[in-house]
């Protein structure tokens, strides 16, 4: 398990997505281990969310709090994996349509790394959310706080996705440009215009020593259609994620109400946020 955390840390630091690493093929991550870790982190965050329901039901003798917590622990991983499931097919198809160099395995690994980043962020905010869940009685506040935390995790995850996609594509271009019988030359670390490099493709740029996972590379990816597809996909992922969270509700559980696994289908995510904000301010 320690190995999985190390892999996660590698991704967060940007070491797994260095151009030199990507040159050797798709992102080097333990797929099964990382998927398990992602699920565990999601379950942990679900437990933090569920603290609210437990405290709300404290002393009343009802088991609603615990039921809600277990439900949340199941729903948070479901939310991420289902959103990925819904959006992945179209992403791959459009990707292939515009001639992206990324194959199915590469795209899947990219998605996994992105999920890992999102859930690492989410889980790291878990203790803070749990603290507020334990000490707050305001249901609208908890809903907004959780929405904020999910948004931060989602946005940074998408930035990671876009940057890594650019690096993957750049690494692929470099890989293809070199002669097939000759192993690709190692990427230079210093800014040296390699004279021995007879390939038509310019050597990828030097990387500053502390290039993080979210940093832009100088190398311009020629296929801007791929970039556009991923940008649109990032927005679609966000929208689908938001609506999926609405479909899967309740995550937190209104105090005093009976336990339900799914709430009846009404309204949508964006209407709800507006309504909750209003509720919070007028203290209903």
């Amino acid at each position: 398990m320690k190995h999985w955390f190390k892999a996660l840390d590698k991704i967060l630091r940007g070491e797994a997505t260095r151009l030199q690493e990507l040159q050797h093929g798709p992102i080097d991550i333990p797929v099964i281990g990382l998927s398990t870790l992602i699920a565990l982190l999601a379950i942990f965050y679900g437990a933090c969310m569920g603290c609210f329901a437990i405290i709300a039901g404290w002393g009343t003798g009802s088991a609603v709090g615990y039921q809600q917590t277990l439900a949340s622990m199941a729903k948070v991983p479901m939310l991420f994996f289902l959103t990925l499931l819904v959006t992945f097919p179209s992403l791959y198809v459009f990707n292939a349509l515009v001639g992206s160099r990324l194959n199915m395995a590469a795209v899947l690994r990219l998605m996994l790394a992105t999920l890992a980043v999102m859930l690492a962020l989410l889980a790291s905010f878990g203790p803070i959310v749990a603290f507020f869940a334990i000490s707050t009685t305001s249901h609208p506040f908890m809903q907004l706080l959780n929405t904020l935390v999910f948004s931060i995790a989602g946005i940074l995850g998408m930035v990671f996705l876009l940057r890594t996609m650019q690096r993957l594509t750049a690494a692929q271009i470099f890989l293809e440009a070199s002669a097939p019988t000759v192993p690709p030359p190692p990427l230079p670390v210093q800014t040296v215009a390699s004279v021995e490099n007879t390939s038509a493709v310019p050597a990828p740029p030097a990387l500053p020593p502390h290039l993080g996972a979210l940093d832009r590379i100088q190398y311009r990816v020629n296929n801007s259609q791929v970039v556009t597809i991923f940008r649109i996909w990032a927005m679609v992922f966000a929208l689908i994620g938001a609506q999926m969270s609405w479909v899967l509700r309740p995550f937190i559980g209104r105090p005093g109400e009976a336990f339900v696994f799914f709430s009846p289908r009404t309204s949508n995510f964006f209407q709800a946020i507006f309504h909750i904000t209003f509720q919070l301010l007028s203290r209903h």
Binding site: D9, L12, R13, G14, I55, V117, A120, L121, A123, S124, F125, G126, P127, I128, F131, F132, S135, T136, T137, S138, F141, L156, F160, H210, L211, G212, A213, L214, D215, L280, L281, S282, R283
Partner: protein, 233 residues
């Protein structure tokens, strides 16, 4: 003797961020994590004890002194621990992992320094209690002492972070993020851990009966209601 060692360490923590007087100035010692934590607990305990003396120490009130003494280090430590995981992950994401140990050391040392300053202000609080009796104003006075200690904390933190920021300007952004997270949690933590002074009209207890509440919701409600009244809805 461990007591003198702690005092010596405390002195070092304070002088560490002062501008170097001469090139031959003594290089500061490296404190251990244990020493810094001990400083935080001891000096926080001291100020908390003085804080809790508001209602005197007769009868049941000595318990308030004990509770407040426990709560000040709790407030600082628990808030710090809650914010730590997100600080770690954000540091990694922004490519600052290599400097994490140093950044963390700067944060912990500043927390310790803050409690030392706070404890040094305790005599003022004691004198205030001896001079005036109003509960609300005593609360404000203590808030003022915490504010002064926080400002010096900010000042120390900025100096300790200077070398990090020159190495990589991203540290400045992360410092701001840390402060935002810390303050966000600390306000709620202070609300939950009430009472610190202990209203003399109410019985002594560790938590207030309505301790489950939210500082932000309370303030937002007050602001909203004020706006409502002002606009005349």
């Amino acid at each position: 003797m461990p007591n003198l060692l702690i005092l010596a360490a405390a002195d070092d923590v304070l002088r560490d961020t002062a501008p170097q007087a001469a090139p031959t100035a003594k290089p500061r010692r490296d404190w251990s994590l244990r020493q810094l934590l001990l400083i935080l607990i001891i000096f926080g305990f001291l100020y908390g004890a003085v804080m809790g003396c508001y209602g005197g120490v007769a009868g049941d009130r000595w318990r308030q002194v004990l509770y407040s003494a426990l709560k000040v280090p709790m407030l600082l430590l628990v808030t710090f621990l809650l914010g730590l995981p997100s600080f770690r992950v954000l540091n990694a994401l922004f490519g600052l992992s290599g400097d994490f140990r140093q950044a963390l050391g700067a944060l912990i040392a500043t927390q310790a320094g803050l409690t030392i300053v706070l404890a040094s202000l305790a005599p003022f609080t004691a004198l205030w209690y001896a001079s005036f009796t109003d509960y609300r104003i005593a609360l404000l006075f203590n808030a003022g002492m915490f504010a002064i200690a926080s400002f010096t904390g900010q000042w120390q933190l900025r100096r300790r972070y200077k070398s990090l920021i020159t190495r990589n300007p991203r540290h400045r952004a992360l410092l701001r993020l840390w402060l935002a997270i810390y303050i966000f949690v600390a306000i709620q933590m202070a609300w939950v851990l009430r009472p610190f002074l202990g209203n003399p009209d109410l019985p002594v207890s560790f938590f207030r009966k309505d301790c489950l509440g939210n500082a932000y919701v309370e303030v937002a409600t007050i602001v909203w209601q004020t706006i409502h009244k002002a606009v005349g809805i």
